[in-house]
Amino acid sequence: MAATLVFAGLLAATLVRFAPGFDADERALDPHLNAESLKILQQSRAGEHNILEFYLKYLRNAVRGDLGTSQSLDQPIRALLHDRWPVTARLILVGLVLAWALALSLALSAAVLRWSAYDLMGTTLSGAALCLPAAVLALLSALLRIPGEAVVACIVFPKVHRYTCNLISKTYERPHITSARSRGLGELRILFWHVLPLIGPHMAALAGISAGIAIGACIPVESLLGLPGIGQLAWQAALGRDLPLLLNLTLVITLVTLLANTSGDVIAEVFRTSEG
């Protein structure tokens, strides 16, 4: 995980360094600056030309808690991340809870009821959400005055619902379920005693993946709804070609995504071990 994180940062730094127009600095266009000021400005960015040197220096400072200063926003990056993280965290958490609640309630009730019309309704709903671009959902939510959390939920919901439905239907095809049914066990008992324990590990892994999806969803949602979170910051950093900020955001987003995925995998493993 640490290696992936370090390489993700290096990849981001390399991409930014070799991007066309990297040397261009809008501040240098200011006609009020004299030759000496321009020289100081050029010198301030000289350390960024050797990508490895820049990245190692960044890592050393990051260990000490200094994440550098944003070039486009002219503020310490640590403060920016600190101020904006709560907005994104709330968006992700509430969005995930809503998405999972909707997806699970639809998938599980469809499994118990076994009505094809009800199943079709859930599939159509998730299919429709899957066919809409995240940015369109954000735009429409602004028109309908729907909160950003609900938009994140709409983006995450179809993936969770489809995967859960597939898992449940595959589990119901297993011979022990047929055997349980032939012995007259009720649908609820079959679901809670024989189906859910089997799909538990997969659902835990999916929880980690869905957190990654929610993080990605925050970018269009925050940018288009004007929410001051990490997603909007990523958007501003990308547009402003802000190397230090982009590098930090890549590392933060990669770290959170990896942590979510790893946590999901660990929980899944605990499930499997406790069953075995």
Partner: protein, 268 residues
């Protein structure tokens, strides 16, 4: 299910026909301005009205369909090719090659797709000609969208590596690229086709996201994404329902792409 697939195929054919016939079907060019009628409602002259820059919305939708529908498959072809190179080859070679290949794939998968897209797109020049913006947008989608397919292809070629026919070919003295190209690759065809087909709607949606965020296809060239930017100024669904036409077409086409693939093909 067969009826749904047939219907989906019909929708795709109609959309492809409309995009190909845009030159003859559209009443005006995508950039012709009717300066006397900006933001006009639908009429006999302008079937979907005109946009804020007084351009015929129906014409722009047809040309936008052409761009999105022709370039998303091109991007899907690029990403599938890269997935074969990295996933297919590393799975076939196995050992350290596979570990390195999958580490690179994991690196790409560890970043949210849209974050990766906007970062790389913003690093390239933004002030470019409309045609260059189209090429850049779809090239980025193709160059960055291979990771998921690479993982699937790696697993598929890994299983083929130890199959009887490959072992027999090896025993007959066939090795390296020749064995991969002539014996492994043809057997990966169903997986390749499925991955190619699955990538198309993903890239259509990604282009729409990028264009709405202002990093996609540049004006005056239309694409589904750039046409959807109009929704930002939508007053209400009841007052201007014709503005939802690009969204309706996009949803229909993306749904059709998903329906055309059978469950078995999707699983592959």
């Amino acid at each position: 299910m067969k009826t749904a697939r047939r219907l989906a195929l019909a929708v795709l054919l109609v959309a492809a026909g409309l995009s190909l016939g845009a030159t003859w079907l559209s009443p005006a060019s995508y950039r012709t301005q009717f300066r006397e009628a900006p933001n006009a409602p639908p009429s006999r002259q302008h079937l979907l009205g005109t946009d804020a820059m007084a351009r015929d919305r129906f014409s722009r939708l047809l040309y936008g369909t052409r761009i999105s529908l022709s370039l998303a498959p091109a991007a899907a072809a690029i990403s599938t090719f890269l997935a074969v190179l990295l996933g297919g080859l590393s799975g076939y070679l196995g050992g350290a090659w596979m570990r390195v290949g999958m580490a690179i794939t994991d690196l790409f998968l560890s970043l949210p797709w849209i974050f990766l897209l906007i970062t790389v797109r913003a690093l390239l020049p933004l002030n470019v000609s409309p045609l260059t913006s189209v090429i850049i947008t779809f090239l980025i989608l193709g160059m960055l969208g291979w990771a998921g397919s690479a993982r699937v292809l790696c697993a598929a070629s890994q299983s083929l590596r130890t199959s009887a026919f490959v072992l027999q070919a090896r025993a007959s003295g066939l090795h390296g690229v020749r064995l991969f190209v002539f014996h492994v690759l043809p057997n990966l065809k169903p997986v390749l086709l499925a991955q190619f087909w699955i990538s198309i709607p993903v890239f259509i949606l990604s282009e729409a996201n990028l264009s709405i965020l202002g990093l996609g296809v540049a004006e005056p060239l239309p694409s589904w994404g750039s046409l959807l930017r109009e929704l930002e100024g939508l007053l209400s669904f009841q007052q201007e329902p014709w503005k939802l036409a690009p969204l309706l077409l996009l949803v229909m086409v993306v749904t059709s792409f998903q329906l055309v693939l059978s469950n078995e093909e999707t699983a592959a």
